[in-house]
Symmetry: C3
Subunit: 265 residues, 3 copies
């Protein structure tokens, strides 16, 4: 991770991000928050299983007529732009408005905005609607922000848009404009299972239901899935068994292991 | 299970439900019935795999223009209200009408009717269209029937609506207004895999293609998946490996094991 | 395989199909082609995971407004007619036109055309739009071509429509009107996992991005998944663990094993 001058990692705060993540995980299991996901067709099943494994109750409708009722009863919302279609676009408008009115925290995952300009435009509109966090990869950030995916650009974008930016990569970066953390957990097999990033975003949404500071919540979500990924890879023979093992690992992940394994910088 | 006064379990009949389930399973494997599913986007893949593992041939289109052709050629139909949208609603109307005309038995699974009032209203209309069975959980029953989820209320609802009610829970209850059975099989991990209940409903639909008595068919479906769940849990390390193991178990489940393991009350 | 008189297997060419498949697999891993899939809702997740395991980058949107942007940036396209709906139909029209204009090779998988006459009609129109290959099973071929699924009929259909026909079965047949190959790899468990055929078609599409001769590309795709299926079956306890194992096997499949295991006639 290249650390920009003005954003020296705050080690006092970073050091306890691992403990914060353990607390968040315990709360998910105790409280079973309802997490509504507008997510792509490829990711729906795996995302639901990741949320269930972490103790949450997922729901997944994307119907514009039902979405307000689901969001109003939810503890957190994910808006993922994969396989975006007219129905998902309409549902997102209503969901985001409902979330704003009912104070339901939400995460934006602007999947593949680098592939389709209209999707990037829609994502930019959504950033203005107040997501607590945006989870994305370097190509998606470059397209969304029209900037190189550096820690400085990330922090600047977070500050301008008053949100938390969570950039997945070899080291994940979480920035809210004043704070920056890096998470060096995870495993290359995570990129070989479809919807792994999408499920990570859903977990960030879940964490927002259990931790009021969105920067800590975003870090917790990526730490939990990153550590689970590392532990699962040790048992996997390839991406098939890895996808299975990460669900088992999330379900069984104990809090001391999470704290001990966390690589926060 | 709380047994209501007027509905003493009929042990003569209950005792042989396990054998009936074994017969139904053998028929599914021998006849490979075609089961068409209008089901939610989260459940489609897992449901298809459960049906295949049990020997059936699943199809899954929800397109209003194609649905009549698929239902007319099917041996059973599932209508699951998860991720209900305009297309699924329109397809359901046509599917249910086709099923009525062509005498294709069908099951209603009113997923999450407790979360969205319009969905509950639609479910009530569908109950009036003649499903052979309704498979749901306690919260969904309470919302659908506007009554406490007791065995009495279940039996009364079944009688009024001339259908079989199959209520999933620690002990599943199957009532048709005159008969009541409880099934105490299953495992807590079943609640940690998305679409497990949906797949159970699909299996009930499949059983309707192999057993003309819908009360016995519903009991068979829940027995088969409940026993498979117990056996699979013994080999699983968490919800990921459990979902894999239940497919393997269903595929390999032998009839004596099914009879021996069945906990029917 | 019944070998028709006029289509004696070309052993000189057939013999090296296994080596060609190994070369194609190496290229997929080296080049990571982008494969866009218009595929059915049941198959999206498994198809994406198969493509990832083989080294490709899948995308899956079916939105008519976005599809042109995705196809134009893709190296190959799959059009699978499962769960066909108005949106997928509209997206397919645009995708196929874009593919023609930008010279993106594409595969047609006419899923279940034997079940719904309008779908068969749509498939016939698409065959006229220039797919490099059509991957289907015997029932689907019989319905599409209105002919018995013999090798002769397959070759004749391929010739008339100037495409490659890849017919899955106990022995897969690949015909382009002048050449015919049979592939005797695979395992019965492949028919017990939903979307296995769909994923095979996606792999054929991927191979078109790595091999300019579509007959060799189609054979490579079916060889790769057939050999992976055989190896995976050896480790599986049923269809659940088989689906997991085939992803692991694809990911780890080494080229000598592929050549050694290939049963090309």
């Amino acid at each position: 991770m290249h650390t920009p001058r003005d954003l020296t990692p705050d080690t006092t705060r970073s050091a306890d991000l691992a403990e914060a993540a353990a607390t968040v995980l315990a709360r998910l299991r105790a409280r079973a928050p309802k997490v509504h996901c507008i997510t792509n067709a490829v990711a729906q099943n795996f995302t639901a299983n990741v949320l269930l494994a972490a103790g949450c109750v997922p729901s997944m409708t994307v119907d514009p007529e039902e979405i307000a009722a689901f969001v109003a009863r939810a503890d957190a919302l994910l808006v993922n732009l994969g396989t975006l279609d007219r129905e998902r676009r309409a549902a997102t408008e209503i969901a985001v408005e409902t979330a704003g009115k009912d104070n339901v925290p939400w995460v934006l995952d602007p999947v593949f905005v680098d592939r389709a300009p209209p999707r990037a435009a829609f994502a930019r509109v959504l950033v203005g609607r107040g997501p607590r966090a945006v989870r994305l990869n370097a190509r998606e950030f470059a397209s969304l922000a029209e900037a190189e995916p550096t820690a400085e650009a990330l922090a600047s974008y977070a500050k301008t848009h008053a949100t938390v930016m969570a950039l997945s990569g070899e080291t994940d970066l979480i920035a809210d404009g004043t704070r920056l953390a890096g998470i060096a957990n995870g495993h290359p097999l995570m990129a070989k299972v479809t919807a792994m990033g999408c499920a990570g975003s859903a977990l960030v949404a879940a964490c927002l239901a259990a931790e009021p500071d969105p920067w800590r919540a975003a870090a917790a979500g990526l730490l939990i899935i990153g550590v689970a990924g590392e532990l699962a890879a040790a048992k996997a023979q390839g991406p098939g068994s890895f996808a299975v093992a990460i669900l088992d690992t999330l379900y069984n992940l104990d809090e001391p292991a999470l704290i001990q394994r966390a690589k926060v910088t």
